[in-house]
């Protein structure tokens, strides 16, 4: 849940979420539209720089979060590059299996482009996720007219995740304090106990939550207002123009 901590305590916390979202989405679009690897890589670098130097997210933390999607991307792009039908750069040959593994030029090009694009896009989204708290992203989604039910579910789920983690953490600590994890057998028994307990508690909790909502006049819609934030014209202009330039570049440059 590091993402969450960073989102609430970075230098750009006070910047209007809309400004950050516009920038991130423009960059995302540019990365996906570009036909060369250059633009997406520039975007990826720009995003990393903005997140680390601009918003002040520590680079170690950033790496730790970014490494997972990046590794996944590299792995899947590798699969794109590999060909089983006689590429230009042979890798391995298994006559017994009639299997021919190789890299093809075209495959490599494709993989490169896909990798660059997705990296740019991922880091753009990561920028938004690391600088903007979930509640503000939800507020933003709400103001652009996302269906209410969806927002309500997100709001409640997001809150409940932490209550759930808290509950699991407490039970686990209580079990551990009584040596519930001293051996493999005990650990399994403790885990089972925890799962059952969490289920029961979650049900009670849901009932209590519902009652508390009713007590404040809950009808059939979860009504609430998000805190007001002011748009800043310079920020908006900077974000918008940088985004548009990148998109234009992405469209203009062919290989």
């Amino acid at each position: 849940m590091h993402i969450d901590t960073f989102a609430y305590s970075n230098r750009w916390r006070r910047v209007h979420p809309g400004e950050k979202a516009i920038f991130a989405l423009c960059c995302l679009t540019a990365a996906l539209l570009s036909r060369t690897v250059l633009i997406p890589l520039i975007i990826a670098a720009l995003m990393a720089a903005m997140t680390i130097m601009g918003a002040g997210i520590p680079w170690r933390g950033y790496l730790r979060i970014a490494i997972l999607p990046a590794a996944f991307l590299i792995w899947s792009c590798l699969a794109l590059a590999v060909s089983f039908s006689g590429g230009e750069l042979p890798l391995a040959h298994f006559p017994a299996l009639q299997l021919d593994i190789s890299f093809s030029r075209q495959g490599i090009n494709q993989a490169e482009l896909a990798l660059a694009r997705s990296l740019g896009a991922t880091l753009s989204l990561l920028f938004l996720a690391l600088t903007t708290p979930m509640t503000e992203i939800m507020g933003l989604l709400r103001s652009i007219g996302t269906p209410k039910l969806f927002i309500e579910l997100m709001t409640i789920t997001y809150r409940q995740i932490f209550i759930f983690l808290d509950m699991a953490g407490q039970i686990r600590a209580a079990q551990e304090a009584r040596l519930g994890y001293a051996s493999a057998g005990k650990a399994i028994r403790s885990m089972a106990g925890m799962a059952g307990n969490i289920l029961l508690r979650t049900l009670t909790r849901a009932r209590h939550n519902h009652q508390a909502l009713l007590a404040r006049g809950y009808g059939d819609e979860l009504l609430f207002l998000s805190p007001r934030r002011n748009w800043s014209t310079p920020n908006l202009l900077a974000a918008g123009s940088a985004g548009i330039i990148l998109i234009a570049l992405a469209l203009a440059i062919h290989s």
Partner: protein, 285 residues
């Protein structure tokens, strides 16, 4: 003049599984007063509270608000829930959003107030509960006491006539408890009726005008704090008496009249003041 704002007449409430939480319970809460509800764990305090704003419906007996039997249709419930605000024992069951600003705006919006009015009320509740500056922190990073204050703010923003609080002081540090107590004083001056559940006898003794003591879902005592809490049967049920009352009684035995002029010390500070005044009076004589 004392008028009852909420009255319960012969109320019986049974949970599924034949658990009788309230048994032929009759009591009334006086408008503008502070009432403390006491009783051992499981004696029915929380259940009683959930009846007060229509969260549960008694199987028999009736509940009157402002002299009228409460209705359980949608409109009546909404009205009742605006008039009777309820703060729950566990803050996590009340806060539904990770943003306390959003959470506090929930109640007023349900009353159908316009956005500007809601925002003013949210701001006011935030300052009142000393939460300004915390409204941008996620709920899960707040301390227990801070969450508790957020819950109270969420109910205050609805401006209820009656404020029902389930163990509001539990989990607050002494400074915060004193501040919160001052907030309650202020609300009372503004005409709000206050009802709290508590396990703290000393607090009930010092704070409440009226106390109601529950024993296994039945009414054991109902009266002025200074009288009801020193009754032998109440002592036997709750396992203790307010310390100030006990000390005052012991000191009175030594001949030092701490009760002079009908003045009954209710808090530690008052007791100390009273003893100091008395001993000074004796030594200068």
């Amino acid at each position: 003049m004392t008028t009852a704002v909420i009255e319960l007449q012969g109320v019986t409430f049974t949970y599924p599984g034949d658990i009788r939480a309230l048994d032929n319970f009759t009591a009334s809460f006086v408008r503008g007063r502070r009432t403390a509800v006491l009783g051992r764990n499981g004696s029915g305090k929380t259940t009683l509270f959930s009846l007060l704003n229509g969260l549960q419906r008694p199987q028999s007996g009736q509940i009157l608000f402002d002299g009228r039997t409460i209705g359980y249709d949608r409109q009546s419930l909404l009205k009742l829930r605006q008039a009777v605000g309820m703060v729950f024992q566990d803050p996590d069951s009340q806060l539904f959003s990770a943003c306390i600003y959003e959470d506090i705006s929930f109640g007023p919006l349900n009353l159908g107030l316009p956005e500007n009015e809601v925002r003013t009320r949210v701001e006011r509740a935030l300052t009142q509960m000393k939460l300004s500056g915390l409204e941008n922190r996620p709920t899960h990073s707040l301390s227990f006491g801070q969450k508790k204050r957020a819950c109270i703010a969420g109910v205050l923003a609805m401006q209820p006539q009656v404020l029902v609080l389930d163990e509001p002081f539990a989990g607050l540090d002494p400074v915060m408890a004193a501040e919160f107590s001052a907030i309650l004083d202020e609300l009372q001056r503004g005409g709000t009726t206050l009802i709290i559940a508590t396990h703290d006898l000393d607090l009930a003794y010092a704070w409440a005008d009226q106390v109601i003591v529950l024993q296994e879902g039945r009414l054991l005592a109902d009266g002025a704090a200074t009288e009801a809490l020193v009754r032998p049967d109440v002592h036997a049920e709750l396992g203790a008496s307010p310390i100030v009352a006990e000390i005052a009684a012991v000191i009175a035995l030594t001949g030092l009249d701490v009760y002079a002029n009908g003045y009954l010390p209710r808090s530690r500070a008052e007791l100390v003041k009273s003893i100091a005044a008395k001993t000074k009076g004796e030594s200068t004589r």
